[in-house]
C-alpha cells in the first residue's frame, strides 16, 4: 500500500540521519543535524515520526556535549564547528517544541530547556558575532518552549531568577528580550507575581520595547497585558508621569499595520480597562476598540479567530459597550461572518460567544438577531463536531431567548430548536449539557401553551434524569429548567411532569447536600403548588414527604435564598383547603424544636426584605377571613407571638408589602398590596401608595376602606404602566393582579384580597 511504503521510506531516511548523529566526527554530526532541522521545520508529520525514533534525547545529548566542549572566548575553526553544533541542535529542539505538544513534552523530558539556558544564555555574554548566533538560537528555542502551556513555571519569587529575567529583558537582541517577555506572559499568574514584576520596574523596559521591532512590540504587549490582568491594585499604581505616555503609545499601536499587533494592543487596553474603571473610559477609545476588533474579524488566520474572543472580553457584562457595538452594526457584522460557512471551529465558537454577549442584556440586539435569521445558523451549530462550538451555540440561544417578547410569542418552542437541544442533554461533554440546560431553562418559560411540545419530545424524561446526576452543576441546572418549565404550566402538564419526577425524588432533592440545589428544588416545588387547589395536593403525595422535607429544611437552613423559597412554598400551600392550611400550621408551630420560637419569627425579623415578604405572605394566606378556620389559626399565631410581629410591619421600611390589620368584632379586614416585584424602580409609586395606605389605616368604615382600595389599585396600575416597559411580563402580571382585586372589590363590601406571588424567574433568564 502506498502509504506504508512512504512511511517506510521516511523511516529509512530518518534512521540514516539518526545514525549519523551518533557519529564521532563533528562535521558528520553537524551535517546530520542540519538535515534533521530541514526535515522537521514546518512539517508536523515528520516531527512526529522523528519523535518516535527518539530524536529528541539524541539531539539533547549532542547539545550537552557541545556545551561542555565549547570555549566561549575562542574563535578558531574548531570551536566554530562546536558553536555551529550548538546553534543547530538548539534550532532542532526549538522546532520540535514549536506548536507541537508532544514535541514540547519530549523536549522538556530531555531537560533541554535547562541545557539551552545554561549553554546559550549565560550572564556574561561576550560580543563575538559567532556567540551572538548561539545566544539568538538559544533564545529563539526557549521562546518556542515558553509559548506552550506545558512549559515549566518560572519562579519569579527567587531573586536570582528575577535578576536573570531582567538581564534578558535588558538585552539588545530582539530574540533575547522577546524571550524575557515570553517568560512573563507564560508564567506570571498570581497577583503576587504581578506585583513583584511591577515593583521590579519591568514596565519601564517593556514600554521602551513597544518602540522596538515587531517581535519586541508583540511580546511586550502580551507581557504588559499579563502583568495588569485582573489586578486593579497594580493598575492603580500605574499612575505617574509615564502612564499617559504608555497608554497613548499602546493606543497608537492599535492602528498598527500588522493585524496581530493590532489585536495584541487591543487586548492590552481591554485588560487595563477591565481591571480599573478609571482608565480608558471615554467614548472615543471605546468606539475605536470596538471598530478595531470588528475589523480584525476579517483577518482569515488565527488573528481573526482570536478577535471575537477579544471582542467578548470587551463587551461582556457591560451594557454601555454592548449598546455602542450595536450602534456600529456589530450584530450585522458578526452575522456576516457566521454566514460565510465552513468556519474553523475556534472562529465559529468565538463568533457565537460574541453574539451571546451582545444579546445578553439588550433587547435591540436580540430583535436584530432574530430578524436576521441568526437562529437558523445557531441551531445548525448545535450539531457541530466540536463540543466548544455546541456549547457556544447553546449560550447564544440562551441570550437570545431572554427576549420576553419572543418568548411570549412562542418563537422558540418549536421542533427545529427543541429537538437538537434536547439531544444535547445527552451529550458526552458536561459543559455542553450545562449550556444546553441554560438555554432550555429560558425556552420553557413559554407563555403560550406549547410546553407539551417539549414534553412530547422527551425533554422532561431527560431533565429528570439529569437532576439525578452525580455532578451538582448539572443537577442544579436541570432543576432550574424544570422549575421554569413548571411555571404557570397547565394542570395536565404539571401532572405529567410530577409523575416523571416523583415525590420521593423531589423530597431527596430538597435535602440535597448542595445548598444551591436545595434552593432550586424548593423553587420548583413552589411553582408546582402554585395555581389551582389541585396543584397543592402534589405536596401531600406519598404521605406528605415533600411537605415534611420543606419544613425540615426551613428549620435548619442558613442560606437566605433557601429560606425564602421554602416560605413561599408554605405560603402557596396555605392558599389551599382547610386541611392544607392546617398542615402548614403544623409545620410552622408544632414541629418547631423550640415551640416558643417558630422559625417564621426569625424570618419576620430578618434583615433581608425578601424573606420578610415571603413570611408575611404565608401568615396572611393562613389567616384570610374567607376560610372557616382562620380565626382559630389567627389565635394560635397570636399565641405564638407571630401576629404582633406582623402588625409591626405597618412601618416596615421595605415597601414591597404593606400590611394593614383592620380588626373589628365581626371579622378582619386584611389587605395586602403587592405593589411591585422589585422595590427600587417604583419608589414614586411606593410613596403615593404608602400615603394612601396610611390614610386607609385610619378608616373605621369598611365601605370607605373599599373605595380607598379601589382608588389605590387604579392609581397603582396607572403609575405602573407608565413606568414599566410595556412588553414585560411583570407589568402584565401586576396588572392582572390588580384587575383581579378590583373585580373582587366590586362584588363584596368587605373583601380580602389575597394573592400569592408567583415567581417570575428573572434571575434564571
Amino acid at each position: 500500500m502506498p502509504t506504508t511504503t512512504a512511511s517506510a521510506v521516511c523511516t529509512t531516511v530518518g534512521n540514516n540521519i539518526l545514525l549519523r548523529l551518533t557519529s564521532g566526527e563533528r562535521d558528520v554530526k553537524l551535517k546530520a543535524l542540519r538535515e534533521l532541522k530541514n526535515q522537521i521545520i514546518g512539517n508536523r508529520t515528520k516531527k512526529l515520526s522523528f519523535l518516535k525514533l527518539g530524536a529528541v534525547p539524541a539531539v539533547a545529548g549532542i547539545l550537552s556535549d557541545a556545551v561542555s566542549a565549547v570555549d566561549v572566548a575562542d574563535n578558531d575553526e574548531n570551536d566554530r564547528i562546536v558553536k555551529d553544533i550548538i546553534v543547530q541542535s538548539a534550532a532542532v529542539l526549538g522546532s520540535f517544541a514549536c506548536g507541537f505538544e508532544a514535541g514540547v513534552r519530549a523536549v522538556l523530558d530531555a531537560g533541554a530547556d535547562i541545557l539551552i539556558q545554561r549553554g546559550c544564555l549565560v550572564e556574561e555574554m561576550p560580543l563575538l558575532k559567532s556567540y551572538m548566533e548561539v545566544v539568538d538560537a538559544g533564545a529563539r528555542s526557549l521562546k518556542m518552549i515558553y509559548q506552550s502551556k506545558m512549559a515549566p513555571k518560572y519562579d519569579f519569587l527567587q531573586e536570582e531568577n528575577m535578576e536573570f529575567l531582567l538581564s534578558l529583558l535588558n538585552n539588545e537582541s530582539e530574540n533575547v528580550s522577546g524571550l524575557g517577555a515570553s517568560i512573563i506572559s507564560h508564567s506570571c499568574k498570581t497577583s503576587l507575581e504581578q506585583k513583584l514584576l511591577f515593583d521590579a520596574g519591568v514596565l519601564k523596559r517593556l514600554t521602551s520595547l513597544l518602540g522596538g521591532s515587531l517581535i519586541q512590540r508583540d511580546a511586550s504587549l502580551e507581557s504588559i497585558a499579563t502583568i495588569f490582568k485582573n489586578n486593579p491594585e497594580v493598575v492603580s499604581q500605574f499612575v505617574g508621569p509615564d502612564t499617559g505616555r504608555t497608554l497613548s503609545c499602546i493606543i497608537e499601536i492599535v492602528k498598527d499595520r500588522f493585524a496581530r499587533t493590532r489585536l495584541l494592543a487591543s487586548l492590552c487596553l481591554i485588560v487595563i480597562r477591565n481591571a480599573s474603571p478609571c482608565y480608558l473610559q471615554d467614548v472615543g477609545i471605546k468606539t475605536k476598540l470596538i471598530n478595531n476588533l470588528l475589523e480584525l474579524l476579517d483577518d482569515p488566520g488565527r488573528v481573526g479567530d482570536e478577535a471575537s474572543f477579544a471582542f467578548s472580553s470587551l463587551i461582556a457584562e457591560k451594557e454601555d459597550m454592548q449598546k455602542l457595538a450595536f450602534e456600529v452594526n456589530g450584530v450585522d457584522k458578526l452575522y456576516n461572518h457566521l454566514q460565510k460557512g465552513s468556519l474553523h471551529p475556534r472562529r465559529f465558537e468565538g463568533i457565537l460567544l460574541a453574539l451571546a454577549d451582545m444579546c445578553s442584556k439588550l433587547e435591540c440586539c436580540r430583535s436584530r438577531c432574530l430578524s436576521l435569521q441568526v437562529l437558523k445558523l445557531v441551531v445548525d451549530a448545535l450539531a457541530h463536531d466540536s463540543s466548544d462550538v455546541r456549547s457556544a451555540a447553546c449560550m447564544c440561544l440562551r441570550s437570545v431567548s431572554r427576549s420576553i417578547k419572543n418568548l411570549s410569542a412562542g418563537s422558540f418552542m418549536n421542533e427545529t430548536i427543541v429537538i437538537p437541544l434536547v439531544r444535547l442533554l445527552d451529550d458526552t461533554s458536561t459543559a455542553v449539557q450545562v449550556a444546553a440546560l441554560g438555554a432550555i431553562s429560558n425556552i420553557v418559560v413559554d407563555f403560550t401553551t406549547r410546553r407539551s411540545t417539549f414534553i412530547r419530545l422527551g425533554g422532561v424524561k431527560l431533565l429528570v434524569q439529569l437532576s439525578k446526576s452525580m455532578d451538582s452543576t448539572i443537577r442544579l441546572n436541570a432543576l432550574r429548567a424544570l422549575r421554569n418549565l413548571i411555571f404557570l404550566a397547565e394542570d395536565k402538564c404539571k401532572e405529567e411532569i410530577f409523575m416523571e419526577l416523583t415525590a420521593s425524588l423531589l423530597a431527596s432533592l430538597i435535602c440535597d447536600p448542595e445548598p444551591s440545589v436545595q434552593e432550586q428544588a424548593l423553587a420548583l416545588v413552589r411553582n408546582l403548588v402554585d395555581g389551582r387547589i389541585n396543584s397543592v395536593e402534589y405536596i401531600f403525595a406519598e404521605d406528605g414527604i415533600i411537605l415534611d422535607a420543606v419544613g425540615r429544611q426551613l428549620r435548619i437552613a442558613s442560606k437566605a435564598e433557601i429560606e425564602i423559597q421554602g416560605m413561599y412554598v408554605l405560603g402557596n400551600v396555605a392558599t389551599g383547603k382547610e386541611s392544607h392550611k392546617e398542615a402548614v400550621m403544623d409545620q410552622l408551630l408544632l414541629r418547631a424544636e423550640n415551640k416558643a420560637q417558630s422559625c417564621i419569627i426569625k424570618f419576620l425579623q430578618s434583615n433581608d426584605s425578601r424573606l420578610r415578604t415571603a413570611a408575611v405572605w404565608a401568615v396572611l394566606n393562613l389567616t384570610c377571613s374567607s376560610s372557616p378556620g382562620s380565626s382559630g389559626r389567627l389565635v394560635k399565631l397570636h399565641d405564638a407571638g407571630i401576629v404582633s410581629h406582623v402588625k409591626n410591619m405597618v412601618n416596615d421600611p421595605c415597601l414591597d408589602v404593606k400590611v394593614i390589620y383592620f380588626s373589628s368584632l365581626s371579622g378582619f379586614l386584611i389587605v395586602v398590596l403587592m405593589v411591585c416585584l422589585m422595590t427600587s424602580r417604583f419608589s414614586l409609586v411606593q410613596l403615593r401608595v404608602k400615603t394612601a395606605l396610611e390614610q386607609f389605616n385610619s378608616f373605621d368604615d369598611s365601605l370607605a376602606s373599599t373605595s380607598c382600595l379601589q382608588f389605590l389599585t387604579v392609581r397603582a396600575v396607572g403609575e405602573l404602566s407608565h413606568v414599566v416597559d410595556p412588553s414585560s411580563k411583570e407589568e402584565e402580571s401586576i396588572a392582572n393582579y390588580f384587575r383581579f382585586s378590583m373585580k373582587k372589590n366590586k362584588k363584596k363590601k368587605s373583601t380580602r384580597t389575597v394573592k400569592f406571588c408567583f415567581d417570575v424567574p428573572a434571575d434564571s433568564l
Binding site: 502506498p2 502509504t3 511504503t5 512512504a6 512511511s7 521510506v9 521516511c10 542540519r34 532541522k37 530541514n38 521545520i41 514546518g42 512539517n43 508536523r44 508529520t45 534550532a91 526549538g94 522546532s95 514549536c98 506548536g99 529563539r140 518556542m144 521591532s213 515587531l214 517581535i215 499595520r257 500588522f258 465552513s342
Partner: protein, 242 residues
C-alpha cells in the same frame, strides 16, 4: 408650446454646463507643477526603499555611496534574503528552504501557508523535470499530510497533482502552474515573509505612489481637461483633448 421650448432650451443649457469642463493648457499646468516643491532627500529615500525591498543589494550599496542616503535595514540581511529569492526563481526550492531555515528557523514553522507553497513548488519542479515517480512519492509523503490538515491546501494539492494526468502539460487547465510566473509568485511570498520577520514593510512605497497618481488623475478627469500622464514609464505629459 413656447413654454415647452423654453424648458427644453434650459435643460440643454444645464447639460452643456455639466459637459463643459475646465480646460487647462500645458503652460498653465507646467507652471502649477513648478510651484510644487519636492525634497531631493525624500526622493532618494523612495529609491532606496525600492532597491532594498526588491533586494537589489549592489545597487543599494552603490546608491548609498553616491547619494549618501542610508537604507532603513542592514544591507547584509538583504544578501541572505536575495539568495533565497533567487533560489526559488531558479527552481532550487530545497536550497531555498535550507537558506530560509538558516536565516530564521521560525519563519517556516510559523507560516504553514508559505511552507505548503514551497513544498508545492518542489513538486512542480519534480514534475517539470519528468521525475514522475519521485514526484508521486513526494506528494504522498510530504504534501498529503498538509492537505489533511487544511481543506484549501488539499484543493491546491489536487490541482498540482493533476499535472501528472495530462500528456500535453502546456495546454492543460492547470498548465499555469508550470509557468515561470508561479515561481515568481512563490519567490515573492518568501520574500515578504522574510521581510515581515525582520519588521520591514513587505511592499515598496513607489507602487503606492503611482497608484495614488492614477487615482487622482481619474478623479480630476471628471472635472477638468488637463495634460495627463498616460505612460507611467516615461511620465510625459500629454496635451488635453479639446
Amino acid at each position: 408650446m413656447s413654454l415647452f421650448w423654453i424648458v427644453i432650451r434650459q435643460l440643454a443649457e444645464i447639460e452643456a454646463m455639466a459637459m463643459s469642463k475646465k480646460v487647462i493648457t500645458r503652460e498653465e499646468w507646467e507652471k502649477k507643477l513648478n510651484d510644487v516643491k519636492i525634497r531631493k532627500e525624500d526622493m532618494n529615500k523612495l529609491v532606496m526603499n525600492f532597491l532594498v525591498t526588491e533586494g537589489y543589494v549592489d545597487a543599494a550599496e552603490k546608491f548609498r555611496m553616491e547619494s549618501g542616503t542610508e537604507p532603513d535595514i542592514d544591507l547584509a540581511t538583504i544578501t541572505d534574503r536575495m539568495a533565497v529569492k533567487k533560489a526559488v526563481q531558479c527552481g532550487n526550492v530545497e536550497d531555498a528552504i535550507e537558506k530560509v531555515n538558516d536565516l530564521n528557523p521560525e519563519i517556516l514553522d510559523t507560516n504553514p501557508q508559505l511552507f505548503f507553497h514551497l513544498q508545492q513548488q518542489r513538486l512542480i519542479e519534480l514534475i517539470r523535470n519528468g521525475k514522475v515517480e519521485e514526484a508521486l512519492e513526494f506528494a504522498q509523503e510530504e504534501l498529503a499530510p498538509r492537505g489533511e490538515e487544511n481543506q484549501s491546501f488539499l484543493e491546491e494539492l489536487e490541482r498540482t497533482v493533476a499535472l501528472l494526468a495530462f500528456e500535453d502539460v502546456s495546454n492543460c487547465p492547470v498548465g499555469d502552474l508550470l509557468d515561470i510566473s508561479q515561481r515568481l509568485k512563490t519567490a515573492s511570498e518568501v520574500n515578504a515573509a522574510i521581510l515581515t520577520s525582520q519588521s520591514h514593510e513587505k511592499d515598496p512605497k513607489l507602487p503606492s505612489l503611482l497608484k495614488m497618481l492614477l487615482w487622482a488623475q481619474n478623479q480630476l478627469d471628471e472635472k477638468a481637461a488637463y495634460p495627463r500622464i498616460n505612460d507611467l514609464a516615461t511620465a510625459t505629459l500629454e496635451d488635453p483633448a479639446i
